[in-house]
Symmetry: C2
Subunit: 487 residues, 2 copies
């Protein structure tokens, strides 16, 4: 990391000239930046939106376009599928998903406002087919809308919050609807008259006293000094692509090898820190190995190298995957019987580590001592046949005996299997997107949203699909409006 | 956390008057501050040492006075006990103890220099009886010197680094030799002519441009402006006593209830951040429940609420305790047979959760399903009788069957048992104690040492007794010398 990465702020008095200005200057054109721009424009602000790439997208553009929405009785899609999702259940789930890192105020606000946000998304032109797809899916392969996208129906979540599916996916055939979502939001941003400048990277914030009044933009290898009359909004994403930052703040990600993101180099976090911002929960990250594909494999059982189970496997795939990395050693095994095994998803890079006509033979093939994996599976099957999992409380219909040989163990190796990941830690912000200093006070003129902040998806063990886009889009809007209306 | 906790820096131009000045200004009079003062004085600097309490001590003064030392063939105490500790083994262990958070440069420097540091400690007048106390001890109850104070003899450490005991304890009858250590260091500081001011709390650093040139001290409810001609050294400890900081940066500590420290409110970390410092590994903490007392209990086996073992219990008590907190639920059980059970240490607040004439009965008393805990113990005993632990590689002499009934399970409950803890994250510093900014550059005029930095004890799962005092004392000296010799 070079000294340039410091993003040291520039004093307004040292600005040689103002090359451009706007009420609200937004850095980053993913979902957070786009939603901030829309709200700021609608609140009457003149908006300048900078993006370091040649076009919009960011990590949002690489996503599935799925947004976590519920509460207030449920969206019409939830209700049609029979889920009258209460605000209490929804908010409780959001807080549990944040675990020890939960921002209660953000969970409560989004818990109350998510249905309004849903209406807003549709008003922007985001299309939804409106149907419910039961089962265990990472993303729909069709253009379905509503899926179970978290651990809602699994212990301990289901005991504290009435479960409901809450992942609302944009109408798009196959994976990758995030690009379409961004295209729609971009069109809205353009229609509302925001000025968009691409290939423009922020290198510093400009300060007048304690107030952020602009940014230094690097465009065509020249510094451009841009004044923000009301506020600067950081929407530049996380730091998953910055190896030095991962080493310092999130070193567990060095267990695995597949960062997902765009140019997520932590620049927004560094810009915020450079003027007194506060970065929190920097050790947290999402990770997943797509082990639930093909779907029958979702019925599998995981054991560590000791042959022990370690979680109720009916949890969200990312929660299960995050727990894998807590196990001793460098791998875990997905156990399947002939009824549930199918050709594993190539992309996951899971390998066949052992097979056998009974679990004892699989155990021997894995080089495990007698009465480890086999004892685990005999115990599991005995209880699964009676409909229970006394150890981890896995529930039907995912809970099922694995007793129809032959049997197989797939290896999920932290170094060689596909474990995608992105970072969750970032700037601490208020529910209005104000960047807070270490003393809890807003930094005048500075706002942030998305993965350069710590928001709804705050805790790796509680991540659910759609939480990050919910956070980016809803709190992006909050930041846009607050910036536009600020003094 | 009030705005006052921001420790916002003051511009030198805004200093109304200089109330005092010195070459080197040190904040905090624990081991780090004392050692920094001694070296700075010996390098010819005029030193002012401020302490917010009414006397020296800090967390070091509450400690056992044990320092982790080895390498270069071993101290004379190690050699007399038969341990020719190599620098390679010592350094390898230090790096493993730092895990994913290890600062290789610090491990390598201390690996080379620890024996010189040992001589230096003795030159300051720190007395050592010089004997070796075998066995498993948290601290000697007598005035013994050399103990096993980490996980050196346990897997995986022992396989990568030839084990040696390296905890060197000051000669002092019973626990609490840290106070004596500080008294000796304080006398040296006084003899060398450092000026000591107590009841003086730093509220801000003073900057001239980018250079730190002093500190604002709060004394008798008045601000005193103190110039540092060469440097300010932060030696104020960690943030275990600051609940707001723990919530933001180290929320897992909210599982447990017994912070240990003095006034460790993170003020030095905040002061460093206020001028562009970089706080790393803020989620890391040491914790321990003193379960190895009385000593036969060190032979016990831990299971989680699923009845599964989770670690080789011959590791350092703090490593085992840290792993307990990773288990599902809110408690773990220490299993003992009649040969190894004795009245548990009151202080640990472990309670008897179940007893039985066989492990099956204990299992029932704990409300665990059949063939969980009992299967774990039957498997463990079968292998222990043959001298092995195929699951976690626990080694003799700690490895022993627990098969002489009656049997007992002690509950270690995260909320009600005694789990002491302190924080390990802090400012990133060079091996010379320079506080580094986020771009890896030293902040001119600012140094730090001890638990307001991330140093040798960087990773909760790898902590070993004596690592923190080694870090405080050695890198405190480094900071003191570097500050005194800086331009």
């Amino acid at each position: 990391m070079s000294g340039a990465s410091l993003h040291r702020p520039l004093a307004a008095a040292d600005v040689p000239r103002w090359d451009d200005e706007a009420d609200v200057v937004i850095l980053g054109f993913g979902a957070a930046g786009a939603c901030a721009a829309i709200e700021a424009c609608e609140a009457g602000a003149d908006v300048l939106l900078y993006e370091r790439n040649s076009g919009s997208g960011g990590a949002s553009g690489l996503s599935g376009g799925e947004i976590y929405i519920g509460g207030n009785g449920g969206t019409e899609v939830q209700r049609a599928a029979g889920f009258d999702d209460t605000t209490e259940a929804f908010t409780t789930y959001l807080k549990m998903a944040g675990g020890p890192c939960a921002d209660d105020a953000k969970c409560e606000l989004y818990g109350r406002e998510a249905l309004n946000h849903w209406e807003w998304l549709k008003q922007q032109g985001v299309p939804y087919r409106g149907n419910y797809l039961p089962g265990k899916h990472i993303e729909p392969v069709g253009d379905d809308t509503l899926i179970w996208s978290g651990s809602e129906a699994a212990a301990p979540f289901c005991d504290a919050a009435t479960p409901a599916p809450r992942g609302h996916v944009i109408q798009y055939m196959g994976w990758g609807g995030g690009r379409k979502l961004i295209d729609i939001l971009e069109q809205r941003v353009r229609d509302l008259g925001a000025r968009i400048v691409t290939d423009a990277r922020a290198t510093a914030l400009i300060r007048d006293g304690d107030r952020v009044v602009g940014a230094v933009m690097r465009i065509d290898n020249q510094d451009r000094y841009v004044r923000a009359r009301k506020g600067v909004i950081l929407a530049t994403g996380g730091f998953v692509m910055n190896e030095a930052m991962r080493r310092k703040y999130c070193p567990l990600t060095y267990l695995i090898n597949d960062p997902i993101g765009d140019k997520d180099d932590g620049s927004g976090i560094n810009l915020g820190l450079s003027v007194g911002g506060d970065a929190i929960h920097m050790d947290q990250f999402f990770t997943t190995c797509p082990w639930t594909i093909p779907e029958p494999q979702a019925q599998g059982v995981f054991v560590n190298q000791q042959g022990q189970r370690f979680i109720n496997e009916d949890c969200y795939h990312g929660r299960v995957s995050r727990a894998m990395l807590d196990q001793p050693g460098d791998r875990v095994y997905l156990l399947l019987d002939s009824k549930h095994f199918d050709q594993p998803f190539d992309y996951a890079r899971m390998t066949i580590a052992g097979t056998g006509d009974d679990w004892e033979e699989v155990e021997r093939e894995l080089g495990m001592p007698q009465a480890t994996l086999s004892a685990t599976m005999n115990f599991y099957n005995d209880h699964a046949r009676r409909g229970g999992d006394p150890l981890f409380d896995k529930r039907a219909p995912i809970l099922t005996p694995l007793d129809q040989g032959p049997f197989i163990a797939l290896e999920l190796n932290f170094q060689t299997s596909y474990f995608s990941f992105f970072t969750l830690g970032g700037l601490r912000t208020s529910t209005d997107g104000e960047v807070l200093d270490r003393g809890d006070q807003p930094i005048a003129g500075l706002f942030a949203a998305g993965r350069c902040t710590s928001g709804l998806p705050a805790w790796g063990h509680g991540y659910s699909s759609g939480l990050s886009l919910a956070d980016c889009s809803f709190f992006g809007r909050q930041a846009g409006r607050a910036a536009a209306l600020s003094a």
